[in-house]
């Protein structure tokens, strides 16, 4: 019990103290920490169990649960793939540690890579609509404005209930990027005047669709109706093994924070969901560190990894 408390604290410390780090990377770093402190005399089975427990624990945190889940799944897969190559647990652990470092470094390279891929799609005079706050969208906009010297204007929704859009606007102001904060309900109003929509994602699911802050689906529907390109920027560690068919099909733990689920066992109907699912048909392209993908390419990637 003592141990699991530590896990949550370690994880929350990263999330709180390093706002630049995605929840998925924080989760992976937490699991890496467990791996490093794991006794050499133990077994692979014991390690797996420990990691599973830690994953459950981290899902109690107040952050993007989808990202935590995708990060943990990826790490588990990493352990499995490595363990297939070595039979001795001690050697295996050494390789895992070594590869883990490379793995983490690659994850850190992901965001600048996406920014480089995405920035050329922003042209002078463009009007861009974005939703909520996303680190990778921010970095791409900054790359386009500062490195490529493009002049463009960004519309940001306030994104209730946590007003993350306001924080996004403050960040853009810091970089001298022209921006306008709009009401969530003004999405349809501004859509006719924007050239493209740029959003991040908490998770990219197997169908190629995305799970993201509530309101993303609405934005995608509006964009489709007005024939505006809808681009998603997401690191590949956000790929998650889920295949939701509709909104109701999304797991409760992704839609509501753990405190809400615990206190409202029977009646979640009264609660506001935090995320929604946008089906692949509404996405134009996904910009990932694996390259620019069409939604159907996402399932290819996931199949390649987990088959």
């Amino acid at each position: 019990m003592e141990n699991t408390r530590n896990v949550l604290d370690f994880f929350q410390k990263i999330v709180k103290e390093e706002p630049d780090v995605s929840a998925a990377v924080a989760a992976i770093r937490t699991l890496m920490n467990i791996l490093e402190n794991f006794g050499d005399g133990e077994t692979l089975r014991g390690l797996s169990e420990e990691l599973r427990k830690a994953t459950e624990e981290m899902k109690k945190a107040e952050c993007s649960i989808t990202s935590v889940q995708s990060g943990c799944e990826l790490f588990q897969r990493f352990i499995t793939l490595t363990s297939l190559e070595q039979s001795n647990f001690k050697d295996c652990k050494e390789i895992m540690k070594k590869r883990g470092e490379i793995f983490l470094r690659k994850l850190q390279e992901a965001r600048p890579k996406i920014a480089r891929l995405g920035a050329p799609f922003i042209l002078d005079g463009h009007k861009i609509l974005t939703h909520s706050k996303s680190r990778v969208v921010l970095q791409t906009l900054v790359e386009a404005a500062v490195v490529s010297k493009k002049r463009f204007h960004v519309f940001i929704t306030e994104s209730h209930p946590d007003l993350s859009g306001v924080a996004m606007r403050d960040e853009l102001l810091k970089h001298n990027i022209g921006s306008t904060l709009i009401l969530d309900s003004a999405m349809g109003y501004v859509m006719e005047s924007v050239d493209l929509v740029l959003v991040g994602a908490e998770g990219v699911v197997e169908s190629g669709g995305i799970i993201n802050k509530i309101g993303t689906y609405t934005m995608a529907l509006c964009a489709k109706e007005m024939h505006k390109p809808f681009y998603v920027l997401a690191e590949s560690f956000k790929f998650v093994r889920l295949y939701p068919l509709n909104q109701r099909d999304l797991p409760q733990e992704l839609k509501f924070s753990s405190t809400i689920i615990e206190s409202n066992h029977s009646n979640l109907l009264d609660q506001h969901p935090q995320v929604d699912y946008t089906p692949p048909g509404y996405l134009t392209l996904l910009f990932t560190d694996l390259g620019i993908l069409t939604p159907s390419a996402v399932s290819d990637e996931l199949i390649k990894l987990y088959l």
Binding site: L81, L123, L290, P295
Partner: protein, 350 residues
């Protein structure tokens, strides 16, 4: 980097001159000629290792591409050459076929031990291997048109009405090949202001295919009775969209309206790994002399109006039903996969 011998410079200059004077007939001719040019360059140049060769190819390729920015085929062929060098190097060094999938993948992120080769080893067998590979590639280019038209019977059925636009050698060969076994009708949109459609109509009529020539403005009206649209294209962009002759978007929208299948014949060398779309007309389109639209004889008018004569149209991927390449049929959403097999991700930006 070795200085380019004057002989090589000579061949390159002849090529660029031909390019500027538009001496190449169609994109297949251009592709063939540029690969032959590369074959000569790689064969005659002195290079120590693959790295050096690739740097030179990139440098020359960039110059060539700048000579004719709208000819995506040149860039594609440069990338193909780089890929061939990479493949042969990997094969000779590791003694095995490099995994066909060179794209970064999740799997790779998880399992990589750092071992990226830097292509600096001197391998004497590399040159003959590359030359042989290029030879095979040339043969593939030469047979691409035949390979595509061999699939004609799978797509054209008896008594169908096919619509097409402008002139495309590939489409002409495709239709003629089907006509050997099937009876069908073709409607050709003339494609103003260059009227290349006239040439196609004449070609098809000569092959005894029942052909109707229509003005571009009649495309929508005629679409109701059409069973299939089959067109060629200038290039296929990385998202599955088309860069095709101006008027194709109109045709595609009309086909969509009547739910008519929209089939595009595009050999593999036309696949371009760049994402350019209609948002970026400057980078995408080419504007030519407006003389064909408004003749200079009408002096009074010319001074009063703006005349544009763009060559290309962007057609978004959702309007395309199927691509027929020399290797078979593919959906637009699958283009990314073909691209990852054709080109190395590091070569996309030349």
């Amino acid at each position: 980097m070795p200085s380019l011998e004057s002989e090589i410079e000579g061949i390159i200059e002849t090529f660029t001159n031909n390019l500027k004077q538009r001496k190449f007939k169609g994109s297949r001719d251009l592709a063939l000629n540029s690969v032959q040019l590369w074959k000569k360059i790689i064969g005659q140049m002195k290079w120590q290792n693959a790295r050096e060769l690739m740097d030179t190819i990139k440098k020359i390729g960039k110059d060539l591409a700048e000579t004719a920015p709208s000819e995506t085929v040149i860039g594609n062929m440069t990338r193909r050459m780089l890929k061939i060098v990479r493949d042969e190097y990997a094969m000779l060094q590791k003694g095995k076929q490099e995994e066909s999938d060179l794209q970064d993948s999740l799997q790779k992120i998880l399992t990589a031990d750092e071992s990226d080769s830097d292509y600096t080893k001197n391998i004497p067998l590399l040159k003959p291997a590359i030359m042989e590979h290029i030879g095979e590639f040339l043969a593939e280019l030469e047979s691409s048109e035949i390979d595509i038209s061999a699939q004609a019977l799978e797509h054209i059925h008896a008594n169908e009405i096919i619509m097409t636009i402008g002139y495309s050698k590939t489409v002409s060969a495709f239709l003629k090949s089907a006509a050997k076994n099937r009876v069908f009708q073709v409607i050709v949109a003339e494609c103003a202001p260059f009227f290349h459609g006239h040439q196609l109509a004449a070609d098809l009529a000569e092959a005894r295919i029942s052909t109707t020539l229509i003005p571009d403005s009649a495309i929508f009206a005629m679409m109701a009775r059409v069973n299939k649209v089959i067109i060629g294209t200038h290039s296929v962009m990385a998202n599955g969209g088309l860069k095709a002759v101006c008027g194709t978007h109109t045709l595609a929208l009309a086909a969509k309206h009547y739910s008519v299948p929209f089939v595009v014949c595009a050999p593999m060398f036309k696949l371009c790994p760049e994402y350019v779309c209609s948002l970026d007309q400057d980078g995408f389109n080419q504007f030519v002399s407006p003389e064909e639209v408004l003749n200079n004889d009408e002096g009074k008018l010319v001074s009063k109006v703006n005349v544009y004569n763009p060559i290309f149209d962007y057609v978004p991927p959702e309007l395309v039903t199927l691509f027929i390449s020399n290797t078979g049929g593919n959906a637009p959403s699958y283009i990314y996969r073909l691209l990852s097999e054709l080109y190395h991700p590091l070569d996309v930006q030349l």
